[in-house]
């Protein structure tokens, strides 16, 4: 990116004469959100300063309106509620403007203990709130810490708005550390997995790029975006009369599928005998869940929820997620809605010495995809999955396309088809009841075991929360099977890139979003994930975020235990060594004590299932007071 910039006064040679001008600007210009509160005070302070020391040769050491004040005005105009950040000198101007000029409100600074946590918190927040939060980070060391979480958000198609500090002009850098914290092209580090970035060279440039970035991040496919905030631009006072224009914030309507393709999809679906709807990252908003119910009921077609989002009510008769394999195998038409891995959905794959795969679908099964991911695919990171043999592919946002698809299906309904749909619905309902009963029976095995079974864990938590307005801010396989989900905020989907360390901060970010709605945020928290950045516990206590974290503590990176076992078996040696390097034992971690050390209510470790309910009740009492609480439960592996 070009490094030239128009001549301007650097912060170090900026002299007093301009200060009054900047202050006058604050008083005279069109009031911005925070400037309204500050303008009069700033102007009077500048006048006092001028009167006290009129000499133009005296170095000016203070300023009223740095560029970072205007940047905060822009962030306020964009409607950010929170900035998640670990403090860093390269954005000290922004930080100070946020807490003083901006009053530390809308956005509020949430102190994070690691930049990966900052981004994952913003990721979790976006999954609940449906809009991005802001993240501040150092342009070098902070962004490197943040990169894994940015990748998760990118793969998950979730919006995050990043601002990173940098000192572009080498002539003004402080000797030493600031050089190590400066970079030519800061964004290049994450350009492979962000949707857009820019390095504004003026405040006007910043305003336009900030609005542009927000619009890009929130246009499906949603993804992280990044702005570089130059240190000089942050800290240099605005010049007399300088009042950058804030562009009108008009977000793009999401892309809808082509009308011809929608009509063809409807024709295939209505004519199908065994259609199946597979939903992954479909429901971007609360409307998405309702629309999917409408489509499924129009067709009386089964829905397989892959849980990338809270797509479909779990107790709905057409929710046939438990019968996924059987349904895929017998389908004649499969509609995939924002399905991340369509190929993997219709193939089985065998991870033996010779890796093999085979289709699960019948010959001639029609595959229809509606996915916004097709609108923005990058080359380097391979998250796009294996290429599926689609019959109809709409590069469009599923949720935005559903109304037209529902209408197109309705237009094709005949009495005969309606009758066939009713018969199909009866069979599906019977099959669903049978599948659910099998699942309850499976949950009963090892019910009283120690370590505690994961099914027991999920159902003990469910018993305590089911009558409250709850939100599961983590993933959990048993909860997904046995709890009753019917609201969009009751599940936040997965991490995206499967980078460990997402779970705890994303849960906290989601809980921050849930706080203003007085929802009970519940996380079933994996132990290995929490140990990536346990400082999130402190953040939750410091900011008084009510969140119940229930540890699924199997004392291992269990996925890796199984991988190592596979290798040992394949090589016919050391089949009893799979726990070396993969477990988190000796010593066992006392998560309750760790939580308490950071101001979080802690219970456990609990090894007897009968002790679980009382501990959960005590923890929920703390959460009801607005505090975070953690219950450490020693569990079966999965």
């Amino acid at each position: 990116m070009a490094a030239s910039r128009k001549p301007s006064l650097g912060r170090r040679n900026f002299i007093k004469g301009t200060v009054g001008g900047a202050a006058a600007l604050a008083a005279a210009s069109t009031p911005a959100p925070a400037q309204q509160e500050q303008a009069a005070r700033s102007a009077s302070a500048a006048v006092v300063t001028q009167e006290r020391d009129p000499s133009p040769s005296v170095e000016v050491l203070t300023a009223d309106h740095p560029g970072s004040d205007f940047m905060i005005d822009v962030l306020k105009a964009l409607g950010f509620e929170y900035v998640f950040a670990n403090p860093g000198s390269s954005f000290r101007g922004l930080h100070e403007s946020l807490v003083n000029y901006g009053g530390n409100k809308n956005p509020e600074f949430i102190t994070c203990c690691h930049e990966e946590s900052s981004v994952a918190m913003a990721h979790g927040y976006a999954k609940i709130e449906g809009k991005p939060a802001c993240v501040f980070a150092h342009g070098t060391v902070g962004l490197q810490h943040a990169s894994m979480a940015i990748y998760n958000a990118y793969v998950d198609r979730a919006p995050v708005f990043m601002i990173i500090g940098n000192t572009i002009d080498a002539a003004t850098r402080r000797p030493g550390v600031e050089w190590a914290h400066s970079v030519q092209d800061a964004a290049v580090l994450v350009r492979d997995f962000t949707k857009w970035d820019d390095m504004p060279l003026s405040l006007q440039h910043f305003a336009e790029s900030a609005v542009r970035a927000y619009k890009i991040a929130t246009t499906p496919p949603n993804m992280p975006v990044l702005l570089v905030a130059d240190g000089d631009l942050q800290e240099t006072p605005m010049r007399s009369g300088e009042r950058p224009h804030l562009p009108k914030i008009t977000l793009a309507s999401p892309p809808q599928g082509d009308s011809g393709a929608v009509a063809e999809a409807a024709r295939l679906l209505v004519a199908a005998e065994n259609p199946v709807i597979v939903a992954d990252r479909c429901a971007r908003t609360p409307a998405g869940l309702k629309l999917l119910v409408e489509l499924a009921e129009t067709l009386q077609a089964p829905v397989i929820n892959q849980f990338g989002r809270m797509n479909f009510p779990s107790a709905h008769p057409l929710n046939q997620t438990e019968r996924s394999r059987a349904l895929i195998s017998s389908a004649d038409v499969i509609l995939g809605l924002e399905v991340w891995d369509f190929w993997g959905t219709v193939h089985s794959f065998r991870d033996q010495l010779q890796r093999t795969s085979q289709p699960m679908i019948k010959s001639g099964t029609k595959l229809i995809s509606i996915s916004a991911t097709d609108l923005n695919t990058k080359s380097n990171y391979q998250d796009f999955q294996r290429f599926p043999d689609l019959d109809l592919s709409m590069a469009a946002d599923s949720e935005a396309t559903l109304p037209a698809l529902i209408e197109a299906c309705r237009r094709l309904l005949t009495a005969d088809r309606k009758s066939a749909f009713e018969q199909r619905a009866k069979k599906l309902d019977q099959a669903r009841h049978a599948a659910r009963e099998r699942m309850r029976v499976e949950a009963s095995y090892a019910w009283d075991a120690s370590p505690i079974s994961t099914a027991r864990l999920a159902m003990e938590v469910w018993a305590q929360i089911k009558d409250k307005d709850w939100s599961l801010v983590s993933s959990n396989a048993w909860a997904q099977r046995l709890w009753t989900f019917d609201k969009h905020y009751q599940h936040i989907g997965g991490s995206g890139g499967a980078g460990v360390g997402y779970g705890a901060p994303a849960a906290l970010g989601a809980a921050v979003a849930n706080k203003k709605y007085a929802r009970l945020s519940v996380s079933i928290q994996n132990d290995g994930d929490l140990m990536y950045a346990p400082g999130v516990l402190w953040t939750s206590a410091h900011h008084g975020v009510p969140l119940l974290s229930v540890m699924h503590n199997n004392r291992a990176y269990h996925q890796e235990v199984m991988h190592l076992q596979r290798m040992a078996n394949r090589h016919q040696r050391g089949i009893n060594t799979a726990e070396i390097g993969t477990t988190i034992k000796n010593p066992n971690i006392d998560y309750a004590a760790m939580a308490r050390s950071m101001g979080v209510h802690g219970e456990g470790p609990i090894t007897d299932a009968n002790d679980l309910a009382p501990a959960l009740k005590r923890a929920l009492e703390a959460v009801s007071r607005g505090e975070p609480a953690l219950v450490d439960v020693v569990t079966q592996p999965r």
């Binding site: 009963e437 499976e442 018993a463 996925q559 592996p637």
Partner: protein, 110 residues
């Protein structure tokens, strides 16, 4: 990782008698990593491996599958797990107690 499914049901129904040591079998079930996918009580794990007990499928079917799995399960050849060890593990699977009926577990009837 995609679901690991092991289809014991498709295997032979001809049973052999196992005369193993259940106590040792439980230890081996842990030491040899069986618990990783099937749970420490052989109850199964979601997305990892099916329930193996109580009332396991016939010993001959278990033996055949473990030596030459047709699904996702990693092979346990005779080089690393002897027939004697396998018999002990099978005895452990036979010893697993039946859980309470679902109707008698209030939390599963909410």
């Amino acid at each position: 990782m995609r679901t690991f499914i092991i289809t014991f049901a498709a295997l032979s129904l001809f049973a052999q008698t196992s005369a193993g040591n259940a106590q040792n079998g439980r230890k081996l079930f842990e030491n040899y990593g069986c618990y990783q996918c099937h749970g420490r009580e052989a109850q199964g794990g979601l997305g990892t491996g099916p329930r193996l007990g109580p009332k396991p499928i016939p010993f001959s079917a278990v033996q055949r599958y473990i030596r030459q799995p047709t699904g996702q399960m990693p092979p346990y050849t005779a080089k690393v797990v002897s027939d004697k060890d396998l018999a002990d593990i099978y005895a452990f699977l036979e010893s697993v107690k039946q859980p309470p009926a679902v109707k008698d577990i209030p939390l599963l009837n909410n």
